[in-house]
Point group: C2
Chain length 198, copies 2
Amino acid sequence: MASDLPTLLRFFKALADESRLRLLSLVAQRERSVQELAMLLALKEPTASHHLAMLKSLGLVRVRQDGNTRWYRFEPGSLAGLARSVLGDEQIAALVGDVPPAAWDDHVLGAFVLPDGTLKTIPASRKKRRIVLAWMLRDFEAGRRYPEAEVNALIQRRHWDSATLRREMIGYHMLAREHGIYWRLDESEWRDESGQAA
Amino acid sequence: MASDLPTLLRFFKALADESRLRLLSLVAQRERSVQELAMLLALKEPTASHHLAMLKSLGLVRVRQDGNTRWYRFEPGSLAGLARSVLGDEQIAALVGDVPPAAWDDHVLGAFVLPDGTLKTIPASRKKRRIVLAWMLRDFEAGRRYPEAEVNALIQRRHWDSATLRREMIGYHMLAREHGIYWRLDESEWRDESGQAA
DNA sequence: AGAAAGATTAGATATCTATCTAATTAGATG
DNA sequence: CATCTAATTAGATAGATATCTAATCTTTCT
């Protein structure tokens, strides 16, 4: 139901306060007036009133007016929706809205690839090196078979050290070799940063 | 499981922050490194690290170290306990720990009853008047029948205006009258502050 | 009508906390 | 062994917010 990030955030902020949790607890037992609640929590009435207004705006409590005292009570089931939106692990994963998934890769590439398309340096960290290698692999067509000389030529369009880079691509299982012939492997075959198969 | 107030409060405080919610969301999709997370949220690494430490201390994320990068991932099911402790309305009501239920009544009585046991004034508000009347009703034995003169005498030990107080006790259905004879009614018969039967 | 009670609104303040920079630790690389 | 990278820890700061006092509003009682 209410599982967009701003809404979820409002609920959590409302519940992340000891006074408000105690208020909820007290009005869950029975109807209570503002001054009674303020007295029980050792707060001034305006403070209690302020908290109750927030809880009301979220539908967590209901008010009944009688004379000039207002009786607050907990709204049963109002937290069930929140609980449901938090129960499933998938719901949490679905919260990211506007973050482009490739942002990190772009960031790394931007730091290592020059405007002319050549590699500034080979990233020292495995994590970044893997991203750069995956980018370089786009120069190779899937299914086609390449002799070593052609592999080196394609790599050298990006960086002079084709020996190192070719070895790395093999190491990550992005490229396979047999009898001096190379071919590109599918992404599902690649090794991850720590050398494990994906 | 974790439904005492301090624990619940820690969880809600941890989740009541946009950065931490987004972090959870990102690591729920896949394993991610600190610098990747910092970059995706436009935060500095120490900030991300700080948030992740808090989430880890609550068991919401797990870490795997590889080289000197640490891969964080969401701990599936870690929120289920929280959700369960929030789902049931009774759990909320059970949070009040150390608040004595009679505190409010004691407070009212303390404000209107003098040390010698007499009534300073009759509370103007129905809410407080009802509490004082209930207190005065203790002077009457259950089951016993009282002529009007005796009722007045018992009330006057507390306050001179026995006529008003007697009428009020009748009004709240604490006392019943027939043919000039009065008797005390059970608490279940009393009217509440707004005149409704309990 | 005037006074009082209960509650809310307005405005001020002090505490908490999310974030940053700088310094430190631990691991990998050459 | 020196260097570099990723992450954390330490310390400082700016922004958020829980709470208070004072003022206002509404309903009830005399």
